[in-house]
Amino acid sequence: MMHPVSVPPFELFYEEHRGDVMRLLRRQLGRDRAEDAFQETFLRALRAYGRLAHSENLRAWVLTIARNVAIDTIRRTSPTGQPVEVGAEDGLPVLQELAPLTDGLPPKERAAVVLRYGYDLSYDQIAAALGSSTDAARQATSTGVRRIRKRRTSE
């Protein structure tokens, strides 16, 4: 059985992006908590890696996983459970448009909508980023979109 190659060997992906992932996690969590989050980020990436359909946006993909691991870490460890900013640091215009629309959505729904419509990721990829099933990722995206629509019609 030969596998079609759609993504680079994980080792090369890991070597290329681990520095950026660590930088993001340290900024959001501080040095101590960043270490566990680093490991969790790349384990989540590994779980989904064999199912990725293409190798576009791998940097955005892994940074999104890192942001979500950071959100989970903060929820778990901070009494107020303040979510961290998910979003537009890659400076893509569509992300800037999405930012005000998705403001105030629950973090998972916001992340799902941003990943789907800002980064054009598949539901499989979003599921990996959120650490959820593909169905749950689809659900979070559509609930998020419905919530935005409802809010806009009531404005």
Binding site: P8, F38, Q39, L46
Partner: protein, 186 residues
């Protein structure tokens, strides 16, 4: 930003322990130069002399899947047996092999190849005859040339009908060194 070696090792260990690695590899020193040695759940998948590690990693992706990670622990058995072989303390390898994706003819040729004892040689034609295809010496040569697991599958023990060494995917120098190590060439 650099990652501490300790954190790096913890991530790799966790990945292996959780069964998330398709292929683990490491680069070993040997008397015939650095060897990229790779193993999957199925067994030893590749030994490569190639200096172009990236190409070899791509090939591993196609064989076993894209979760290819440097993982010294994964190749401990192969490392030990290769060290013993190069030190003259091992004549037979006792390693499970991952031969996925290979054609039936290739697998049967490699099966016969594995039976050629340490310190002996055979010819491409003889090997072809042993798999019941006496006229397929050239096809056997191609199988030797593409052998994914040289040294352990001893294609260096296959020579031309006139006793000349013919060729070796890893370079003729290495074939000479391996045959000298086994006492075939002095």
């Amino acid at each position: 930003m650099t990652i501490s070696p300790d954190l790096d090792r913890r991530f790799r260990d966790a990945a292996l322990d959780l069964g998330l690695v398709d292929v683990g590899y490491d680069v070993l020193d040997s008397p015939v130069g650095p060897l990229l040695v790779a193993a999957s759940d199925e067994g030893l998948a590749a030994i490569s002399y190639e200096q172009h590690a990236d190409e070899e990693l791509d090939r591993l992706c196609r064989i076993a899947g894209p979760r290819v990670l440097r993982m010294p622990r994964r190749v401990d058995d192969a490392r030990r047996e290769l060290d013993e072989y190069f030190a003259g303390r091992r004549r037979v390898f006792d390693l499970t092999l991952d031969l996925r994706g290979l054609a039936p003819f290739t697998v049967s040729v490699l099966g016969e190849l594995a039976k050629i004892p340490f310190g002996e040689t055979t010819t491409y034609g003889e090997l072809a005859a042993r798999v019941g295809r006496p006229r397929a010496a050239r096809a056997v040569g191609t199988v030797m040339n593409r052998n994914r697991i040289p040294i352990v599958l001893p294609c260096h023990r296959v020579v031309g009908a006139g006793g000349n060494l013919v060729g070796y995917a890893g370079g003729l120098d290495r074939k000479v060194m391996l045959l000298e190590l086994e006492g075939v060439l002095l």
